[in-house]
């Protein structure tokens, strides 16, 4: 993703990967067809006394742009919030391991805690994307523990309880002090907040009426636009109409994509890369090897 931002400004214009063009190409072609249709009936339209003019469409277009700006804000806020939550999963996991390393002499406990926290991150990832978590659980916690966790309806939450009990045990055995435990409990609460925040974003879309109204208005606007443009522009109509439609439709499409930031499309969060980052950090902090390799972008320059 970062690689692309260093492309030359001219080369970027012709990038296909990661753009939303594939999603809206059908709608643009429909618009092109409508433009050609408008051109065809243009002489007949002129004979009518009544014809569509651009001014009411300008008014509508500006109103739609304002509403689209609003929807973009709403979608982008979800994307940013989701990213901040995952940033907090990484931050809090590292803080917990730092606290564990400082509190307990034996690094064995820290290693175990690290594995639990890595498993928490991967479970959250899998539950948000609807992919099976079993493989990662087995890899990190062993066959038996993975089995016992598999019956949970709320896997990530179950893991959080396990982590809590793990630290409560250290406290009971006197290996961490009461105050250390309090510090750790604060961070577990933070992980709980991250989990709840992700669930909230995943379960509560932007109110359906919002996207519906906008899409209806937008598609109708794009469909009628050629009729209003054709009187003045004539043969320029298809070009200008598709250009204006592209501007509006692609913004709507990217808003739609960012509304669900946990998907696997090009403009979603790279959860796998983040989880791998967490794994690498926690393993290095607890002197475990080998580190999993950094994820690199695929041939479409996407991280997942």
């Amino acid at each position: 993703m970062i690689i692309r931002s260093h492309q030359h400004w001219f080369a970027r214009l012709f990038t296909w990967h990661g753009s939303v063009l594939p999603q809206i190409i059908v709608r643009l072609l429909l618009n092109l067809g409508m433009s050609l249709f408008a051109l065809t009936i243009s002489p007949w339209l002129k004979q009518l006394n009544s014809h569509l003019t651009l001014p009411p469409f300008s008014l509508l277009g500006i109103a739609v742009a304002i509403f689209l700006g609003f929807r973009n804000n709403a979608s982008y806020s979800r994307y940013i919030e989701a990213r901040k939550i995952w940033g907090s999963v990484m931050i809090t996991s590292r803080s917990l391991i730092r606290q564990t390393l400082c509190a307990v002499d034996a690094t064995q406990s820290a290693k175990l805690a690290a594995n639990y926290l890595i498993a928490f991150a991967w479970s959250l990832n899998h539950s948000l994307r609807g992919t099976p978590a079993k493989h990662d659980l087995q890899r990190l916690l062993g066959e038996k523990e993975a089995e016992s966790l598999s019956s949970h309806h709320a896997l990530a939450n179950g893991l959080l309880v396990k982590i809590g009990l793990f630290y409560a045990n250290l406290l009971r055995e006197g290996r961490i002090s009461e105050l250390n435990y309090r510090n750790i409990d604060d961070n577990l609460n933070e992980l709980s907040r991250c989990l709840g925040g992700c669930e909230r974003i995943a379960n509560t879309p932007v109110p359906f009426a919002y996207s519906l109204i906008l899409q209806r208005t937008l598609y109708l606007f794009c469909t009628l636009l050629p009729l209003a443009l054709v009187v003045d522009l004539q043969w320029f109509t298809p070009f200008v109409s598709v250009f204006i439609s592209y501007t509006f439709l692609s913004w709507e499409a990217v808003a739609e994509e960012m509304e669900h930031p946990f998907g696997e499309s090009a403009n979603n969060l790279a959860l796998n890369a983040i989880c791998t980052g967490i794994e690498r950090n926690l393993l290095e902090m607890t002197d475990q090897a080998p580190l999993p390799p950094l994820l690199s972008v695929d041939r479409h320059y996407n991280l997942t």
Copy 2:
């Protein structure tokens, strides 16, 4: 709700459920009537030297769109804040049960705490929606306790005091430590904040003048629009006028709906589903069975 977002983009346009069309259909028909009226008097309007033109209406329309954008922001913020507060009720309840499980050996206490917290969520839900909480209280806390709570003017707050006293008792009996109690008290404060936040949103609408001014302006704008359009558009007038009115009126209607996020309409929060989610999570954490079934969307694709 989520199901619908995977509908094909074309199919979505003709969705009726969850949209605000039923609420504004009368106003759109009025606008249609006005358009036809404008068409009828159009020849007579032309004879007059003075006639309405579109430019002042464009100016007004853009101003109204900007103000509408502001109102949408205000309403949407209320909706999002309400959703975050309910997310926090879930997060904090789970954290409290995790802390209880870690602090106390006997799971009996955790089960009792879970029931109290589930009752808190349902009471808050019922008090926000003005529905009777008695049935849920009896189900969760037993006949006797439900009776003793029924006299409270502020039921959810009363339950919070009860939960506080429950933990204070555990502290006095020496079953949780001072520091555990402090951690728990922090989370009770958070529940108190959630309760107060919900009350604030429910009791304090967006200042009345805001919606009033906007609606007055908007309705008058839509009513006069056909008169301004008819000179140029002639027979296209009804169509374009209803289209523009639909855009503005539906955005106003969805803003109006989201302003009161605790209602039961299609664009409000699915409080029952959230409460059921809390109940399922807390019961599973404390090994209680059976779990209540997940709520599923009704035949209008709505969750309540």
Copy 3:
């Protein structure tokens, strides 16, 4: 306030109460007069080669709408922040009483604390509105204590110190533990933040230049508008001009009102109702009777 939002959409349009119409009626009449004047000199204007046209006014109108949107945001943020602070006064007072009830056996202390906290809320209300707090202090704390407090320049802050000393005393007498005291002290800090936040909003208006520039521009814009409209619209001028002016002026007026959220006008916060709510809640929590009646809207549907 909530009642009105359930009015039929048509009935709402003719509501007088709570709207800002009375404040701007003079300005609207001036605009009407200007329109009639423009109509009168319209023939003479036509003879001049130079005349005002609408396009520069459209540009100006849109710019003014954007700036007005900015000012609305600023004013609304103040209103919302003020409401949140008062919500926090209620939340924190309730949390403090819950903590007191859980920490101390004798409810006598909780009753005393409740009275202090109610007195704090009323003093803050009175100091923000510039009304005398003496009556409420006497009612809640007794003649003698009210007298001793009356000399304070910063009454609410003085009460906060008293509440702090009250809890410090409980700590010294060994009736609450160190950790309880810490929990309570956190909430006293929160009340201190509420107090400071209210003072900040009351003392620091939106920079004066903002409202001044906007008003100058807006009034001049409305005054010149008829001259620009009259060429095309002729006899429609007064109507359209007053309509556009109403839209802009009423939004400016409501922004002006919300800028000072602690006043007693229709679009300000209902501080008395909030304080009564706090009083009812705290009294019920500490089993004191009778509860003061809920405030109801006056015949203009306003709460104060």
Copy 4:
């Protein structure tokens, strides 16, 4: 400042004080000159086949208004954040004194702490405005201590360390408990945040390119505007052109002023008044007399 907001709406329009008119009067006169020049060459312009028309300027004007709105938001956020930080200095100082009064029996310590905190507020004020702090330090802490502090590069930070050592001393002497100390330390951290926040706002302006691009565009826009207006408006050109320029330039000027909220101009924060308020509050809380008089607005209605 508050006084002015109660001026009659008509009287306000002719207020000179506190407005930004003096700063932009030269630019407005330049614009007037350009308008007269455009009028002069207007006949010659008409003979040319090519002439400036308003539509491209409308597009540009609206774009500039949108960008100006953005810059206003950025500047206003800085102003509001600066005000909140200073509000927090007051809140935190009062909380610290309340905690000290509750924790320590002898009020002598509280008096000393109050003086330190007042000195901290004044030092921060002086360092932000680049004025010498020596006089206030001598007044509050005595000749000797002021001398020892004068060598500090970071005076306010040095005072914060001194306050920390003062409380650490009370702890070592056993006069405040560990938990009291923790509560106090939290508030010292908050003062540290206030200090850092002020430094950040003072040292990091809005990126230079922002204001530069906006100003270049804006001045060029205002300069060319008369040429575009003159074709239609003729003799109305100077008036309309200066009016539009006033709207844009004054908004830009007020944004420029608010960008540096710690200055002493009319639209900046009244730091001296805030510091005096802190001094009055803390002295009253610790029974010290006499209180310094409240600052009142000068003959230009400004507080500094």
Copy 5:
């Protein structure tokens, strides 16, 4: 940077340094070429019945301005957040040293802690900018420790663990109390948040589709603009077209630059200056000398 803001308003217009002009000069020249081409084919365009007119471009231009406003907001938020995080690094480092000075008698520990914290700031800086940290580590922590740290994949995080272990050691040796340690641990968590926040901003650009769509639309808009302007403006076309393009392109360029706030260009954060500030503050607090000199702007008035 601050120096420039005191330049005379007229002189600023011709400033070259720190502006984004160099980056867009090629695109502006292309636009100029297109304008001249449009002028050349202008007579031939007139003969065609179909020609480009300005109104559809006005609509597009306003929509693009609204979307550009959105992108500016997104980029500016990143810039501001990055600045706040670095402010917090400074604030937290100072608080930690204050706490260390208050908790430990021997200043030797505080000196060591200061060096660690300065090294943390510089490592974070170097890792964000991709420059080698080795020199600074050697300077601050000595040859040996720098060597042992050099193998870390996550250097700043490794330093944070070291700082944590340093304080844990002080606790074990009984030189700081449990509560002191808790206060310190809170601040270490805050540093961990700063580290994670910087990584998040550096690794997650604004979704690629956003900038791509905007740039495509914008460049195409600027390219076609001369064709739409030439009919009316004739010889004014190149001037007006370049002017409008400059406005849009320069705003896009500054948004692009601010999106990556950790770079070394003129509109990025002056990380070296901030780190030097931290170093000066911490050294002065722990009585170490000599202080490194304040960074001053280079001959292009830039800080790095």
